[in-house]
């Protein structure tokens, strides 16, 4: 009986060669990695810190730390996931500094009773893009995600905005897979609930207005 052996062959990510070259002292190789991921890291950092200047500092510090610790990169995860982990830690640290009296961690405000998931039965109008101008829509989306606890916001950003897999998100955040799934569900439902205030269909909004 023939066996399929292709599954044994692991595809080598192109970043691996760049990391190897950077480790050997080739700064141009690291330059390429920075170029490749600086935009994504900036978006993640700003989603977490909600502050542009902090996000820039986070990106700078994260790449600098990554460069210093290149030897510690094991290669059993993607370089990008490793980088995201450094950036998320830096971003949470910044957030903590801003809220001097309050601690900020991945666990903050995420304990939610199983039965308290929000339920809003209002359907949305046909297309939020038609209801609001681009700039208004952007403001609504920013304001809404800002209201989420950092732990939820981070998971949602990595999974749904940046497209990391559940496993990669778990690895980047040092969380278990069930913890990522649980936070992601709550983040999605809370965002949905808050966005419904803006996007629910006009008919239902009018009916609700008439009741008050």
């Amino acid at each position: 009986m023939s066996t399929i052996q292709s599954s044994d062959v692991q595809e080598i990510h192109p970043d691996v060669a760049l990391v190897e070259r950077a480790r050997a002292g080739d700064l141009a190789a690291f330059d390429q990695l920075v170029r490749q991921y600086e935009r994504q890291l900036f978006r993640i950092a700003q989603h977490i810190t909600q502050n542009r200047e902090d996000a820039q500092d986070v990106v700078q510090d994260a790449f600098f730390k990554a460069y210093q610790k290149l030897e510690q990169f094991q290669g059993n995860s993607k370089f990008y996931t490793w980088l995201v982990r450094i950036a998320v830690n830096e971003a949470l640290m910044r957030l903590r500094k801003r809220r001097t009296a309050k601690t900020v961690s991945m666990d903050e405000d995420v304990q939610t009773e199983e039965g308290s998931l929000p339920r809003d039965f209002a359907d949305w109008g046909p297309n939020p893009e038609q209801q609001y101008k681009q700039s208004e829509l952007k403001e609504i989306l920013q304001k809404t995600i800002q209201g989420l606890p950092p732990g939820f916001r981070t998971v949602f950003t990595l999974r749904d905005v940046e497209g990391l897999s559940t496993e990669e998100t778990a690895e980047a955040l040092k969380l278990s897979i069930p913890a990522v799934k649980s936070r992601l569900l709550r983040a999605r439902l809370q965002l949905r609930e808050r966005l419904s205030r803006y996007f629910r269909s006009t008919k239902e909004a009018t009916a609700e207005g008439a009741r008050h």
Partner: protein
């Protein structure tokens, strides 16, 4: 499957990897008979899509160049940990 169970497992319908076909079937069967959960499913899907489709925090090219230069200048002077 009741509504609470549906909500708890809703994410399965948005999974692209590691799909559990049987669970998906159960979720779809619930959707056929529950209009409230159809609304929850549709609006959650729209929530994910709207955030995915709108880049909220753009990094303008000029700022990206400044940031890039600053990063590389720091790295050029850095000593790497063994």
């Amino acid at each position: 499957m009741n509504c609470t169970e549906f909500i708890a497992k809703l994410d399965e319908l948005f999974e692209r990897h590691n799909i559990h076909e049987q669970l998906r079937e159960e979720l779809r069967a619930h959707l056929v008979q529950c209009e409230h959960c159809v609304v929850t499913y549709n609006t959650t899907k729209q929530t994910i899509e709207i955030y995915r489709d709108h880049e909220l925090y753009e990094l303008p090219n000029e700022l990206q160049e400044q940031l890039h230069t600053a990063i590389m200048a720091r790295c050029a002077q850095a000593k790497r940990c063994p």
